[in-house]
Amino acid sequence: MTADAATAGERLVADWSPTAGRVLLGLVLAWFGYHELVQPALWTGYVPVLSSTSAAAVVLVLAHGWLLLVLAVALVAGIVPRLAAAAAALLLLQIVITLTATAGLSDLTLRDVGVLGLAVCLTGRGTQRLTV
C-alpha cells in the first residue's frame, strides 16, 4: 500500500465515520422514541419521582418519545446535526444521572454512558456528509 493510498483511506474514514456515528445514534433515538410513543405505559417506570401509573408519567414519556423522534430524524438526515447531538447529549446525561441515582451503577448505566460519549463527540464535528 502506498502512502497516498493510506492517506486516502484515512481521509475516507475521517470523512465518513462521523456520518456513520450520527446515523447510528439517530437509529438508537428513533427506536426508543417510537416505542415510547406507541406504548408509553411500558416506559413510565423510568420516570423519576412520579408514580408510573400516573397520567403525568405517561405524558412525560410521550413528550420524551416525541423529542427523541425529532432528534433522530435530525441526526439521520443531518439537519443541524451538532445542535441535535448536543440536545441528545443532554437527554442522555439526564438518563444516566437518573438511572445512577435510582439504582446505582450497572452495565445498563455504563452502556448509556457510551452512547452519551458518542453524542458528545458528534457535537464537535462541524463538517458532515449525507445531509438534507
Binding site: 410513543l37 405505559a41 423510568y46 410521550l62 416525541w66 423522534l69 439537519i79 445531509t131
Partner: protein, 173 residues
Amino acid sequence: MASDRTRVSPRGLTLLAATAVVGLVLAIHGWSAHNSSRLPGPLAGSGPASTTPAAGRHSAAPSPPRASASPSAGPLLRSQPFAQYAFRVWPGVPGATAKSAMTGLSISVRKRGNGLLVTAGLAGQAARQPKFYPGGTDVYVVEATMGDDSGNTDYNLGDDGLVVTSAAGRILQ
C-alpha cells in the same frame, strides 16, 4: 457532498415539521391506548427493584390486610397482547427466561385447596399480602423487555406484571 451546517434548509425544515406531526399522531395514539397496553398484576407502578442496597431507594411499607373480592375469570391469556411476554413460573421450575423475567421481583406460590395463594412484590422490600386465586392453576410473570434488567435490578417495573390463570387458561382478575 460535505457541509458544515449551522442553519436549517427549507427541505430540512419540512422534514422536521413532518416528523413533528407524525410524532404528534403517534403520541395521540399512544395516549389513547396507554390504558389497554398496561400490563396486569400488582407489580406495575412500583419503582426500580433491586436486591442490592441502592442509593435513593426506599422500602415500601407492607400493604395492610384487606378483604379482596374473589378473582373472577377473565379473557384467555393467549388472546392478550402481552401473552408473548408471559413466562410461566408455577407449577414446576421456572426456565431460564422466566428467571430472567423475575429479576428484581419476589414471587412465591402455594397451593391452597382448589386455588393458589400468591405473594408477589419487589425483591428486597417488605412482602406484600398474599392473594388467594380460587381455581388458579398457573402463574406467569410478564416482562415486556429484558433490556431493563441488570444483575439483580429491574430498572423499569412499568413493563412487568403477574398473571394467574385457571386450568382453561383464563386470567383470574
